[in-house]
Assembly symmetry: C2
Homo-oligomer: 121 residues x 2
């Protein structure tokens, strides 16, 4: 039988809302989530886990209290557990986020940008 690959562009075509990660795959108890981001997210941290960002299209900046990292397509960064960070994108950026299942996008901060968790696309 022929198994189907997970195609990032096909998945991105299925949703348009920003800052609303969609689960596309699971690896043990970890999830791969696609997100479209634009503008400023909220400062937050994840107390119990690192979080990986992999840029698929566009550019983003992850701000830290003591600096930042700029990412473009073909680049990734792992935000360490407990480190406050704020994702920012000047124009829409498409990212792949990898983290344990049940991680909330706004971490310890909450607020209106908190997305429904565990929504698959």
């Amino acid at each position: 039988m022929t198994y189907q690959p997970i195609n990032f562009n096909d998945k991105f075509d299925k949703f348009s809302d920003q800052w609303a990660p969609r689960v596309i795959a699971e690896l043990n108890d970890y999830q791969f989530k696609l997100a479209k981001i634009e503008g400023d997210f909220v400062w937050h941290a994840h107390a119990d886990t690192d979080e990986a960002f992999l840029v698929l299209e566009g550019k983003m900046t992850i701000e830290f209290r003591d600096g930042c990292v700029e990412l473009e397509a073909g680049e990734m960064f792992v935000v360490a557990k407990g480190v406050e960070h704020k994702p920012v994108a000047q124009a829409e950026c498409k990212v792949l986020i990898i983290e344990p299942r049940d991680v909330i996008n706004t971490g310890n901060t909450g607020g209106k940008l908190t997305a429904d968790n565990g929504v698959w696309v």
Copy 2:
């Protein structure tokens, strides 16, 4: 301060051997590994973990005992725990592999394609 992104192409420029994954990042107890693959790998399985393949450049096939999945750049697949598989690439393909630290590339099979584990680039 300015943090440095992990750039896949920069990392790939630093090694040329095939079937020899290089660690580029860690996420909790998981690792991100880049590999250049070409030809046929060995049939093997990982008894204790799923394994994610994300194609960055080129094309690959993951053969299973009951079929296969064909992947190209912008696509991924998660091989479930315990499932026998054989990665194959007709021409050199650049892939990102995500799996727990200490996973051996040839799984339960071993042999001459078994790579040194935990080598960073």
